[in-house]
């Protein structure tokens, strides 16, 4: 097509004009679709007599939640039920993330063992967990706990004072008097003080060049405030040990089978991912780095800490972030086995109020903001360990 030089149609060759046109068209399409959906939704809702808005949140929830880290009764509001769901989600996913990191690191190091038997076992562990759907494992663990484990009366004692039976896991519980908040506060002060002291010492080492022992100062800064608080306030700590009686387990804290199955499933599947990440992180550091560190006179633990780990972490942290995010998002599978997490509470809310849009929007918002928070934190940490310059 040829367009005469003085024709107004020349504008289609203008890059700026094109850019503006594309963007306006794209934005307009999105707005139109959104308007279309919104109009349909409001019409449908009005016709079906479904209430809109978030006023349901302050009404009485009226349903039972089988396990809750905070006090909750059916007479509480939907907001509180939602909060219980959020806390349950956070509880199970943070516990799973911690366990998975520990187990996964061990398995990842095991895969690199010089003993072929150990490395093969670690490989089989990783392959099975990565190649079978998590949901299937959740169903399987749940079925095993419910049907294959003995009743409470004959509970297995898997660790001292930890009992496993078909009604879940019983662990010792620790109750503490009200001073706990003060101790936590003192601990926080200690951490801040330790960081400040460590930084100051490092700065003085860099400026003066004199090497001093750092850890006694840091450890005492960390410990002293909380120790002092404990000595002054003298809180009473009570450990409630479960005891296997004739018919039931007395004392301790009861973890429901749903929680145990979910925790087990999430932990194992994430640990396989962590194992792969740790393995590739260690493998990515070339042997020359160890040798160079040794030729500088560093002993093995010191070269690990100063030379190998800082480089391996750089490789490990970005995929670790997505593993943690996956644990957090996968905890939503809880609904399949009936653990009252955020999704399940929202689902019950949806069924009871008949409102679908608001609960789904709410729980998506919660997931999104927590995901963004986790990735922001991990990005910050990643930026700290990344190469500078």
């Amino acid at each position: 097509m040829h367009v005469a030089p003085e024709s107004p149609w020349r504008i289609i060759y203008n890059l700026r004009a094109r850019a503006i046109f594309y963007q306006v068209a794209c934005g307009a399409a999105v707005v139109l679709i959104a308007y279309f959906l919104f109009a349909n939704a409001s019409e449908n809702l009005a016709r079906q007599n479904i209430a809109t808005g978030f006023s349901y949140l302050s009404r009485e929830a009226g349903f039972v939640i089988s396990q809750s880290p905070i006090a909750y009764q059916p007479s509480d509001t939907y907001v509180r039920a939602l909060l219980v769901g959020i806390l349950n989600t956070v509880r199970v996913s943070s516990a799973a993330a911690i366990f998975a990191t520990v187990i996964g690191t061990l398995v990842g190091v095991g895969r690199l063992s010089s003993n072929p038997l150990l490395s093969r076992i670690a490989m089989v562990y990783v392959e099975i967990l990565r190649n079978v759907p998590l949901l299937l494992f959740l169903f399987l663990w749940y079925a095993i706990i419910i049907t294959a484990l003995p009743p409470v009366r004959q509970a297995f004692q898997i660790l001292p004072a930890v009992y496993l039976s078909n009604s879940g896991l019983v662990i010792p519980s620790i109750t503490c008097s009200d001073e706990l908040t003060w101790i936590a506060l003192a601990l926080a002060v200690g951490i801040v003080a330790a960081i400040i002291i460590a930084r100051a010492l490092r700065r003085s080492r860099i400026t003066t060049g004199i090497e001093r022992r750092v850890w006694p100062f840091v450890v005492s800064a960390l410990m002293l405030p909380s120790l002092a608080t404990i000595l002054i306030l003298r809180p009473s700590v009570m450990v409630d040990w479960p005891e296997l009686g004739r018919f039931r387990l007395a004392g301790g804290a009861q973890l429901m089978p749903e929680f145990v199955a979910l925790l087990l499933g999430l932990t194992l599947s994430a640990s396989a991912n962590v194992a792969e990440i740790v393995r590739s992180g260690i493998v990515s550091i070339r042997k020359g780095q160890w040798e160079a560190a040794a030729s500088l006179g560093l002993r093995r633990p010191l070269s690990l800490r100063l030379v190998i780990l800082p480089q391996a972490l750089r490789v490990i942290i970005p995929p670790m972030t997505s593993t943690y995010l996956n644990v957090f998002k996968n905890s939503s599978l809880a609904i399949a086995i009936g653990y009252p997490d955020l999704v399940m509470v929202s689902n019950t809310t949806m069924n009871q109020t008949g409102q679908a849009i608001e609960p789904i929007a709410l729980f998506m918002m919660v997931y999104l903001s927590l995901s963004l928070a986790i990735s922001a934190f991990m990005n910050w940490y990643n930026a700290r360990v990344a190469l500078r310059g």
Binding site: C26, G27, N40, A143, K329
Partner: protein, 364 residues
Amino acid sequence: MQLVKSELAPRKSRPRQGVGLHKLLAPYFGTPGNVAITIICLALVALIAAKAISWLVLDAVFSGNPATCKASVGACWPFITSKFRFMVFGFYPYEEQWRPVAALAIFFAACGISMNPATWGRKLAAFWAIALLVIFWLMLGGVLGLEYVPTAKWGGLPLSFMLSFIGLAAAFPLGIVLALARASKLPVIKVLAIAFIELVRGVPLISILFMASVMLPLFMPDGFTIDKLLRAQVAIILFAAAYVAEIVRGGLQAIPKGQYEASAAMGLHYWQMMRLIVLPQAIKIMIPPLVTLFIGFFQDTTLVVIVGLLDFLDTIRSAMRDPQWQGIAVLEGYVFAATVYLLFSTIMGAYSRFLERHFRMGHD
């Protein structure tokens, strides 16, 4: 003085290398630490193997009915054999089940052919288009002499494959568009792409499936309904597209800037540059992670259970809920399903490693 030897050195026998027992055993028993590891591992393996063999074989029931299974403590294999066709095909009409078998056979044959990178090209794409049409005709029927089978009756393994395969196949072009939009210099398009990608990646798949199954009907005009299966499929496509987009972005970033500049210098415009220069190189980098993503999605399609579609995992669960067998075969179904998933995922994983080697060799 003689500096050079005048006679031959005495012949010595070649040092024994071979596979001496001590060399074979060295990694297992070489050091005290390794001895301990070996003993612990052997004990662990023996313990698990003993339990597994006694449950799977020794105490298992191989033929009989629910009553004989109930009397035994081992696995109940008659459950699997008598429920096999239901587990694999779900509620698909019994007499018509040759159709999903044929569809799966065509699908596997097409996959087998496409596994060889030498076949990739336009012809293969055309072949896939025809194969998919035939598969749909076989599954849905209604024309050319086949009885109509509504999607509500589809289930089992064909459904699982369909959801994950079509999910990723359709997500691929969408993901490329999203990644290009994200890399675009036009702020509105870039922001929209980032918003979509981060929103989808920030929420679990379940929430997208919930949206599709519960919320979407509310957003459609009155009287306009979309098939339940199609809704889940669209949800999976949109979800996968965001993840594909991130892989494509990684691939685009790996292409040196000089390639963009060179194609601009050749006078290619944006789409020509992407289609002819950048994407062909980027796709090579993207394929191994895409296969890994596919393995993940093959497993993630099990989540459609939660919105009430009868995929492979759900047909197994329904089989276990059969009143005749309820409470008798509680683990066998899961073990069977796990074996199937393990088999397919392992094949795909091995293929992904093959591709990685293949492309690495191609680069040098």
